[in-house]
C-alpha cells in the first residue's frame, strides 16, 4: 500500500466534512465532522429499519393468518400477495415505488389535502408537527404507566398461580395507558398543539410546504418496498408456525371449554411463537441489511452518506468500508442477541 501512496488512518473522522445531507434526524451541515456524517447515516439506517420491521411484522402476521383462513377468497388473495411480492427483486420494487409510483403524485401546488392536514405530494408526505409543552412530564407519565402495567402483570400472574383467580390485565393495562397520559394533560401542565404545513412559494413555479414534518419520498418508497417484501417472508414463517402446532392441541383446548380467542391466545400462539421467532429473526436481520439498498435511490443512509459521499471525498476506502461493515455487523449482532433473549424467554422451560 505504501508504494501506492495511500496513508492509513482514522484521523479524517474529525475533519470537516463540507457536504450536505438531504434528510437528517440530528442537526447537521457541511461544517460538521465526518464522524457526525457517519452518525447521520447510521440514524437514518436505524430509522428505516425500525419502521420497516414494525410494518413488515404487522402485514406479515395479518397475511400469515389470512393464508390459513377458511374463506377461499381471503386465502387465495393472501397467497397471491405472497407469491407476487416474493418473486420480484427488492431493488426493482424500490425503483418501482420511487421512480414510477411516487413520481405520479401531484406537485405541491396541485395537491388536495387528506383530511385538511396531510399533503401527499411528489416532494414527499407533509404531516403536522407536534408542538409539546412540558414534554418530559408526558414522557414520565408514559414510563409510569408501563412500569405499573408490568407490576400488575406480575401480581396477576402470582395471584393466578397461587389462588387461581383471573384479573383482567389487558383492560387494566389499556386503561392505565390512557388515564396516566390524560392526567398529565389535565394536571401536569402538558399541552399539545399542531403546526399544520402551509404552501410556500419558493420561485416562480416552485412551491413547497413549510412547517410540519416533511417525510421525503425516498423514505416512503424504501419503507413501502422493504416492508411489503419482507412481510411475505414473515407471513410464511407465521403460517408455518401456526400449522406446526398439532391439531390435537387445539382440540384438547376446545374440549376443556376455551373459546376460539382463548385457544389462539393461550394455547396456539405460545407454541407457534417458538417456531416463528427464529426464522423471523432472520428476516429482521435481512431487512436491516437490505435497507442498505437505499443508496440506489439516494436516501441518505449509512451506505450512501458514508461509504458513498465520504469515501469519494476522502478516498479512505479501506477505513470507510471496514467501518461500514463493522457497523452492520454490530447492528445484526445486536438484533440477534435481542431476539435470542426473547426466544429463550418463551422457549419451553424443561425441568
Amino acid at each position: 500500500m505504501e508504494n501506492r501512496g495511500i496513508d492509513f488512518g482514522y484521523g479524517f473522522l474529525s475533519q470537516e466534512s463540507s457536504f450536505d445531507v438531504q434528510f437528517s434526524l440530528i442537526e447537521y451541515d457541511g461544517s460538521h465532522s465526518y464522524f457526525r456524517a457517519y452518525l447521520v447515516g447510521l440514524l437514518n439506517t436505524i430509522l428505516v429499519s425500525v419502521i420497516g420491521i414494525i410494518l413488515a411484522t404487522i402485514i406479515g402476521v395479518i397475511v400469515g393468518i389470512a393464508r390459513l383462513s377458511s374463506n377461499y377468497l381471503i386465502k387465495n388473495t393472501a397467497a397471491f400477495y405472497v407469491e407476487f411480492f416474493r418473486n420480484i427483486p427488492l431493488l426493482l420494487q424500490i425503483f418501482f415505488w420511487y421512480f414510477a409510483a411516487l413520481r405520479a403524485l401531484p406537485l405541491p401546488q396541485d395537491t388536495e389535502s387528506i383530511m385538511g392536514v396531510f399533503y401527499l405530494t411528489i416532494k414527499g408526505l407533509f404531516i403536522p408537527a407536534f408542538i409539546w409543552e412540558n414534554f418530559n412530564i408526558f414522557l414520565y407519565s408514559i414510563i409510569a404507566a408501563v412500569v405499573s402495567i408490568v407490576v400488575i402483570k406480575n401480581y396477576a400472574k402470582r395471584k393466578r398461580e397461587n389462588e387461581g383467580k383471573q384479573i383482567p390485565v389487558f383492560l387494566i393495562s389499556i386503561g392505565l395507558l390512557f388515564i396516566l397520559p390524560l392526567l398529565s394533560f389535565l394536571i401536569g401542565g402538558v399541552s399539545l398543539s399542531f403546526e399544520i404545513p402551509v404552501l410556500k412559494k419558493l420561485a416562480k413555479t416552485s412551491y413547497i410546504y413549510e412547517g410540519g414534518v416533511g417525510i421525503p419520498p425516498e423514505l416512503i418508497a424504501l419503507t413501502l418496498a422493504l416492508s411489503l417484501y419482507t412481510a411475505t417472508f414473515i407471513a410464511e414463517c407465521v403460517r408455518a408456525g401456526i400449522q406446526g402446532v398439532g391439531k390435537g392441541q387445539k382440540e384438547a383446548a376446545a374440549s376443556i371449554g376455551l373459546n376460539p380467542n382463548q385457544i389462539l391466545k393461550l394455547v396456539v400462539m405460545p407454541q407457534a411463537l417458538r417456531i416463528i421467532i427464529p426464522p423471523t429473526t432472520n428476516q429482521y436481520l435481512n431487512l436491516t441489511k437490505n435497507s442498505s439498498l437505499a443508496a440506489a435511490i439516494a436516501y441518505p443512509d449509512l451506505v450512501l452518506v458514508f461509504a458513498g459521499t465520504a469515501l469519494m471525498q476522502t478516498g479512505k476506502a479501506i477505513e470507510i468500508v471496514s467501518i461500514t461493515m463493522l457497523t452492520y455487523l454490530s447492528l445484526s449482532l445486536s438484533i440477534s442477541v435481542l431476539m435470542n433473549w426473547y426466544n429463550k424467554k418463551i422457549a419451553i422451560k424443561e425441568k
Binding site: M1, N3, R4, I6, S69, S70, N71, Y72, L73, I74, T77, E83, F84, R86, N87, I88, P89, L90, L91, L92, Q93, F95, F96, F99, A100, R103, A104, L285, K289, N290, S292, L293, A295, A296, V303, A307, L311, A317, I318, V321, S322, T324, M325, Y328, L329, S332, L333
Partner: protein, 480 residues
Amino acid sequence: MNNINFLKPDKSNLNLFLILGLSLVFISIFDVFLSSFFKINATGFLPTSISFLLPLIIGFIGLHFIRIEYSGIRRLDEINKNFNNNNFNAVLSLLIIFIIIKSIPPVLSWTVIDANISGNSKEACTGDGACWTYIKVWLRRFIYGLYPNEEQWRINLSFISLLALGSVGYFATEKFKKYLTLYYVVIYPIIAFLFIFFFISGGPVFFDFSYGIIASVVAIIIGFFVPNKFKLYYFCFVPLAVYLSLNLFILPEEYVELGKLEGLNWVETGAWGGLALTFIVSFFCLIFCFPVGMALALGRRSELPFIKYTSVVFIEFWRGVPLITVLFMSSVMFPMFLPEDFFLDKLVRVIIAISLFEAAYVAEVIRGGLQALPRGQYDAAKSLGMGYWKMHIFVILPQALKLVIPGIANTFLALVKDTPLILVVGLLEIAGMLQMAKTNPKWLGYSMEGYVFAAVVFWIICYAMSKYSYNLEEKYKTER
C-alpha cells in the same frame, strides 16, 4: 310461510331467503360493475358516502339471508362454507370481490386497450396507456446490454449450446447415469466457463488467471488416473508445477492473448449487460457458492478447533454484512491489496464476492441438514470402516442435501434476486439497463413500463425456480 325471522334465516323459508339474498348480492355486485366498467353511478342521487357504502351494505344483507346451514343444496352449502361462514368473512369476501371488479378496468386499459406497441419512436405512443413501443425498441439492450448488435449471435449460440449440454441429464441412459454428477459438478461448469471465456468475451478477460485454470483442469483430468495412494501428493504438487511451467516456459508473455479465437472481436466485460449478464452472474455464483458452502458447513462441524473457528468467523462475518458493502469492498477496497501489475476484471471480482457471500448462507442451510441426521448414520458409516471423506460423500451428504433442498432453493432464489444489485458497482444488468434507458432524453417518462417488464421477467424466472425446487423436493422425498 308464517313467522319469518329475518334476523335468523332458517331452512323452513329457504326459497324466499334464497331469492331475496341472491338478488340483493347480485344488485350490489352489478352496481359496482356498472360504476367501474361504464362509469354509471346508479345510486348517484344519494349522498356521496352512503352511495359509496351502499353496495357493501346491500351485499352484506344479501349474504346474511343466504347463510343457511345444512340447506340441502350442495352448491349453497359450499358457498356458505368457503365465502360466507360468518359476518366478518362475508364483509371481507365482498370487499375482495369489489376490489377485483374495480381494478380490472384500469389495469386492462393501461396494459392492453389504451396501450401502444406499433412504431419505432416516442411519437407512436399516443394513448393514455402503456407504451410497449419503448420495450420493443429497447428490447435488445435489455437482453444483451451494450453488447454490439452484430455480435449478439455469440451470446445466443453460447446460451443455446449450454442449455442443450445442460439437458443431457434427461437423455442419459442407465449406463451413463453414474457419471452425471461428475459431469454437472466438474465438466459442465468448465465447458460453460470456456464458452464465456473464449466465445462471449473473445478476448483476454481473465488472462492472469488462465494459466492457473488450464493447469488445474489438466491436473484434475490426469488426477483421475493416479492411484489412490499417491493422490494426495499428486494434488499438492502437480498443479503448482504445471502452473509454473506454463507460466515460465511454455507460454511466455507474448502468448498472453490466449483467450482470442481467430476472427472474433474482443468485447469488454463493461459492455456486457442486460438479462444475459444476469444469467452469467447467477450461473457462476450458483456453481461456486455451493462447494464453498459445503466445505464451510463441514468445517463448522469439524473437530479441529482451527478449522471450526475459522469457518464460524467466516460464516458469521458474511452473514452479518449487506451485499452492497461486499460489492463496494470488491470494487473499491480489494484492488488496493493486489500487486500492482495484477489485473482482475471487475466482473470476476463481483462474481467472487457474491459467491463467497451466498456460500455463507448455503453453509448454514447445509449445516441444518447435517444436524438433522441422526447420530446412528454416522456411527453406522464408521462401523463399516469408512473414513471421514468416504462417510460424508457416500452416506451423510446425500441424505443431508436431500433434507435441505427447500432451503438451498431459497438461497439460490435470493441469489438470483440479488444480482440486480451489481449496478452499484457499474455493471448494467437488466435493472441497470432500465435505469440507463430511463434517462435517455428521447424516451423520458416511461419508467413504469420498464419496471413492469423487468418485474414480469424476474417473476417468471423466480416462480419457475421455486416450482422446480418443489418438484425436486417431491421427487427425492423418502419415507422416514
